[in-house]
């Protein structure tokens, strides 16, 4: 069951620099939220809070409340490993591990303790099918992941994320380095995944946000300027700043 995401008065500082300012929003279960805004507006920071990737940034301070389903993300006693299994992430550059296609997808389940080869095979197959890569790599599972094209590598990374049965997917500009055909495949996956996973995607491609998302949040200077249904934001945003960004009048 895909969880909802609730963020309340979220602040993030990198040293003295405040990256997010009192961000409050709610995303319903199984919905796709697109984060848009100029570079440095805080959208990637926001994404990284949701699975505590933010912890790795130097001198970072986070304040506020973030809940992903049952996880109180910022609570001191949260099981970060379990959180990251629930909240999978796909990055801008495809980052397959330097190992076989099979081992890439099996990596997470193995770490989680799955040892039975038959189950492992099934999980790998299921995940590759969900990521629409199975037909292209069946029979080649022992080849290096590095032999795949960029678009295939990105779908492999999605399969790898899916292999541990996440409920949320965070996508940080997942098609920024891909050609239009590979981009279309990834977007199609996002649309198919709807309702099964709650998704948050950072994208600089406004048309992509329009195509795949249910809701759009516009960030600027670390603030959430406006969030609303995708149709409303792209046809008639409420805020002047959003309007100016979308029409290139900034």
């Amino acid at each position: 069951m895909a969880p909802d995401i609730e963020v309340d008065s979220l602040d993030v500082w990198y040293g003295q620099a405040r990256a997010l300012k009192e961000v409050t929003l709610h995303l319903g279960p199984g919905k796709v939220l697109a984060l848009i805004g100029p570079s440095g507006c805080g959208k990637s920071t926001f994404l990284r809070v949701l699975n505590r990737m933010i912890d790795r940034a130097p001198q970072v301070r986070v304040k506020g409340a973030v809940r992903v389903g049952a996880f109180e993300v910022l609570a001191g006693d949260v099981d970060v490993t379990a959180l990251r299994r629930t909240v999978g992430m796909v990055f801008q550059q495809p980052n397959p591990f330097p190992m076989t296609i099979f081992d890439n997808v099996a990596y997470g389940p193995r770490i989680a303790g799955l040892r039975q080869m038959a189950k492992l095979r099934q999980t790998v197959e299921d995940s590759l099918k969900k990521a629409a890569l199975w037909d292209e790599v069946r029979g080649k599972l022992r080849r290096s992941a590095m032999s795949l094209s960029g678009g295939q590598q990105q779908r492999l990374c999605i399969a790898r994320a899916l292999a541990v049965n996440p409920q949320v997917l965070l996508l940080d500009e997942p098609t920024a380095s891909l050609d239009p055909v590979s981009t279309a495949k990834i977007e199609e996956l996002i649309v198919q995944f709807k309702t099964h996973y709650t998704m948050v995607i950072v994208t600089h491609n406004l048309q992509q946000a329009a195509r795949v998302s249910d809701a759009v949040a516009f960030f600027e200077h670390g603030r959430l300027v406006e969030m609303g249904p995708t149709h409303d934001i792209f046809t008639a945003p409420r805020e002047r700043r959003t309007e100016e960004f979308l029409t290139g009048r900034v």
């Binding site: 406004l206 048309q207 792209f234 008639a236 979308l246 029409t247 290139g248």
Partner: protein, 218 residues
Amino acid sequence: MIRQSFHQELAQLEQELIRMGALVEDQLRRAVRSLTDRNITLARQVIEEDDRVDAMEMDIERRCLTLLALQQPLASDLRVVSTALKIITDLERMADHASDIAKVTVRLNQEPLIKPLVDIPEMARIASSMVRLALNAYIHRSIEEAMTMIRLDDDVDHLYARVFRELLDIMRTRPDTVAQGTYLLFVANYIERVADHATNLGEWVIYMVTGQRKELND
């Protein structure tokens, strides 16, 4: 910067739209004048000019589709382009009605009128002023100006009802007037439709400004 050239193209698009609107308003005035003045030469000009309106519609439509495909406008820019696409359809229909009225002039030829034309020219005056006001509302991005369509459309509707009754009475008492009476009813109906299309323009202006669709004539 690419957005700057896009906004210049948007401004050009608006100019073309205003030019088309002015031509349609003129067509309507001349069509009704051709009828009241029994001027068949003028009527034929109106009929011929309709091709120009059609050409303008196609040209603006092509511009809009190019902008949508190449610039993928959003927010108010998207509304400006989609509004233009809708407005030109209404304008083109109005021009068709002007041409229809001119055809009635040609058909009646110099046949004496069964009644002096008073309300029909008044309907046409209001309807063509609605076209101009709607275009002004478009230029000024003015909801107030767009809202004036409601009252003017009501005025046209009332006149239409009156013309309808009068012509029906005449046709009932003088069966030899049925042919011309029917043509004049057509004319009144065309003008009433023009006013409805002008009301649509007002609705599109409100959409363009606010992003909300609002029915002005119910």
